[in-house]
Symmetry: C2
Subunit: 562 residues, 2 copies
């Protein structure tokens, strides 16, 4: 990460082994964690949030096979609710990607006018780096590569952990990669089996280049190629990452499970890339490109721009290193640089998204073409959650005469999961002079006049979301907090009667809603803010037209942690 326009009064950066001697009390957040602070009722239940302080991009994601723990690090400023220097790597672990343990600061910058900026972690099983001896299990030979942001430049540092990722030793010969640039950051390292090399992608940010370097030992890096000027450019490139993503050839909702089992599994390479600011929807956005990688050069299949998520709050997604069965699991920052510092939440600011399982699948964006598309499925361990209430309806014909209400308010904690599948009979639209919309409002339990408005409009073919119906000044008056979002949706499947069917799977967790359309062919992640403890708990289904919408399936669960 780079704080836009942040100007530093120059101070030399003491490179080499860190002797961090800051005015900041790094025990602050540990103390705070153990006490009851602030508005805990607003804290998401299954999305990671730091106990106190500012958090942004996820860093160093990896899975520890020895402990079966998922490790998440992140850009962290424990003593502030806004980004600035110094910035650290915070650290959290999860055994299920659904519940989280906060471990406070893990990696520090060299001094208090520098930053331990974004980066990644790999497991150096074969000790290519020489950082380890036999006292460290191969599966716990943890090496972090990250950007040290100083007043004079951004260079790449290495650090390693001998205790399973809780504390780090800084490599004495840092930096490991330095091209004397102030805009060179966010190394994501992977092991490329075919060439038996480590591969680093990082951003030469303001030149719109993703640079690719290779190494045998994580210490000496050789430039191989640039992948540049792809996608939406915005102000600058940030947080690139290369992943080998499984291609599921046949995932057709019309076919039976048996035929799905015969799917072949193949792989394609995907380059992820974030830009900020300058997203077309404002602020931050995460893009991806599908292609091939030969160990040195990434070649995109085409020149199309595609977004990982179409919401306003999904940035800097990183994938986990060393996942158990090589599945591709990613997680992003669930906020936006345009307003993350201003959201009406204390004593922490911002959350991560849920972890997502990522695959590539053939997808029909229209009747005449098919293309590989990134599918995202949320990872939730339901075994650690109670369903406190649930509603299930089928074959509900919507009319203009009445709205259908379902109240889920018994023990509302603000955690809802829903699936809505609907069929559209466009021939029943009698006039195109007004929208033909189904609305699926999620209303507050204390005040139903605050609500999240979701829905689908037939003539535009679009799913819409309005997060602007709130009493909070932040929502009403911050013009950067764009409230209405529109997302074009292709049919999930065509029913036996020839009518299109659409599907959305949603997770609401206090002030975050993640929407997964059509099994995850597109997604939209957005934060929303309502009056304190006015959690969403009442569902309202209505239609502006008669006999156009048939809800084939509606399932809503109110969940709670055990």
């Amino acid at each position: 990460m780079k704080i836009l326009g942040f100007t530093l009064t120059a101070l030399c950066a003491a490179l080499g082994v860190h002797a961090y001697n800051s005015a900041y009390d790094l025990t602050l957040n540990r103390t705070a964690m153990n006490s009851s602070v602030g508005h805990e009722t607003n804290r998401p239940l299954i999305h990671y949030t730091p106990r106190v302080g500012w958090m942004n991009d996820p860093n160093g994601l990896f899975f520890d096979e020895e402990t079966s723990l998922w490790h998440v690090y992140y850009q962290y400023k424990p003593d502030a609710l806004v980004a600035g220097l110094p910035i650290f790597w915070g650290h959290a672990t999860s055994k299920d990607l659904t519940s989280w343990v906060d471990h406070g600061v893990a990696i520090e910058p060299a001094d208090d006018v520098s930053g331990a900026f974004s980066g990644s972690i790999v497991i150096d099983r074969n000790n290519t780096s020489g950082f380890f001896d036999n006292s460290t299990l191969p599966g716990q030979r943890i090496v972090a590569l990250y950007t040290e942001d100083s007043s004079s430049k951004q260079s790449q540092f290495a650090a390693y952990s001998l205790d399973g990722g809780y504390t780090f030793n800084y490599y004495a010969q840092n930096p490991v990669l330095d091209i004397n640039s102030t805009q060179f950051r966010d190394p994501k390292v992977i092991w490329h089996d075919e060439t038996q090399r480590w591969v680093m992608t990082l951003a030469l940010s303001q030149e719109y280049k993703i640079q690719i370097y290779t190494s045998k030992n994580l210490k000496t890096w050789n430039f191989q190629s640039n992948f540049s000027h792809y996608g939406f450019l915005g102000y600058q490139y940030e947080c690139p990452g290369l992943s080998k993503v499984p291609v599921l050839q046949s995932v057709d909702p019309n076919t039976t499970l048996a035929s799905n089992n015969s799917s072949s599994v193949d792989f394609k390479w995907v380059m992820f890339l974030s830009i900020n600011p300058g997203a077309p929807t404002g602020g931050s956005v995460n893009q991806y490109f599908i292609g091939d990688f030969d160990g040195k050069t990434f070649t995109a299949d085409d020149s199309a721009s595609r977004f990982v998520d179409n919401g306003k709050d999904f940035y800097a997604m990183q994938t986990f290193s060393d996942t158990p069965t090589n599945e591709v699991v990613g997680l992003a920052w669930a906020s936006n640089w345009d307003y993350g510092a201003y959201v009406p939440i204390t004593p922490w600011k911002t959350s991560m998204t849920l972890a997502r399982n990522l695959t590539l699948r053939p997808y029909k964006p229209n009747p005449e073409s098919s293309q590989l598309t990134l599918y995202s499925e949320p990872i939730i361990d339901h075994s650690i959650l109670n369903t406190t209430q649930s509603i299930k309806k089928a074959s509900l014909n919507l009319t203009t005469e009445e709205s259908v209400f379902y109240h889920l308010t018994k023990t509302a904690k603000g955690l809802l999961e829903f699936t809505l599948e609907w069929k559209v009979n466009a021939t029943a639209i009698t006039s195109k002079k007004s929208p033909a919309a189904m609305t699926f409002n999620l209303r507050g339990i204390e005040d139903e006049e605050e609500f999240l408005k979701l829905g689908y409009e037939v003539n535009s073919g679009a799913f819409f979301l309005d997060r602007g119906i709130s009493d909070l000044d932040f929502v009403r008056f911050n013009p950067l907090f764009t409230t209405r979002l529109v997302h074009f949706l292709e049919p999930y499947r065509i029913d036996q009667d020839g009518l299109p069917v659409y599907k959305v799977h949603g997770i609401v967790d206090k002030d975050i809603v993640e929407l997964f359309f059509n099994d995850g062919s597109s997604t939209s992640t957005n934060t929303f803010y309502m009056s304190e403890e006015n959690f969403l708990g009442t569902v309202e289904l209505s239609s502006s037209v008669d006999d156009v919408f048939n809800v084939l399936n509606l399932e809503i669960k109110q969940l709670n942690t055990m």
Copy 2:
């Protein structure tokens, strides 16, 4: 254009010479034009609107050197306020691109379940087509190429005019290009001098291909190449167009006019492309790609996605053929397919944008790079406008203590032109915990509580627009009418004191606002809707921070047609 999801009860299309015998009264709009209809006070003064009926994409734009008239055709359904079949080419002319004369229908489809879809016009000076004899002046040998949309396919038709573009004869051997596709449309034809060929670009829409064909006679077309899978794909490609755009090498606002005069003039080819639906901001959007063209193949310089305009209401831009000095002048539909049919305006629906002069210039999107960018400057003939009131201020330091109001209400007709240039001293921001915003509200003259909120926020580096502050139900409740827009802005120049200066030039014409940032390096065109006759007439400048914003120049003119 293609109406999404429009299903036709199949009827064969009578190809060949048209014998149009419709139930529609094509004289309807001519009659209506001569009477006083509906809410004429809401009609834009210098943006083209049809007198009655539905209008969308501009078509067949050309300049007639014999009459010095600019001709604009457009997708037109005179008897409806929503798109549908049959659809026609409407026609208007202008001597100054500021005032408009409506001529009603010019081109018809073959029958009333077909459409004369989008296309273009060229001047066939040398009579390559054989459509003309010496009775038609070379500069008035007008040939239209357009898509005939029938229930079975979309094929390309030719028609020619012997009376200066007011009526057309249909080529007896139509179609001139037919690949038996239902998604093949919007031919834009240019003369390529280097190869002495006509070049047609058109969309193989749902395959995301811009196809390039060449011809010697406008009748026989040979396939040359595809330009495919570039930019944001959306649901489908529409309205491509290739233009040879002047490159102004040195346009530096810090240099004097004298040094600007020494600029070299060169050219690059630009491919324009519209997509709808599926824009990241919802619905329709217009993209462009800069590159080279050898007469057969367009090669983009890079794989970046760029938008012609960043607002919600700018679609299907086309450039004028045969402009007087080969300047590139374009004009777009100032609406969005997501909601164009629902806007609270009668008895016509939707407007065109102002014409724009288009050039390519070096532009610095950030401190470390420079790239060619499309610059757009509005074309307004001020000689036909009166300035009824004007305000000019310089060096205005904004504080949190008071807002500055200027009232322009004497003879308000809703036509305003303004220039705002401001300097930002970010070091005066005392806290990053809240936005550092300058707002430039344009308030209604009848009800100041309805207003268009514009402004700039320093921490995000973004210009914002909120068109949601209105009493109208359409604005308040239509979720597809996204209200808040955010547009990242680079400095226009750096002042002598090292501080960044930004600039916006705006034109408000009843319910349309067109914003041109930094001499046109980016633009944002948006419609907005307020209570009847509540035209914008009061300007309010305010700041959420002290001493950060200095307005170097503010000029506002209230204009009227003579």
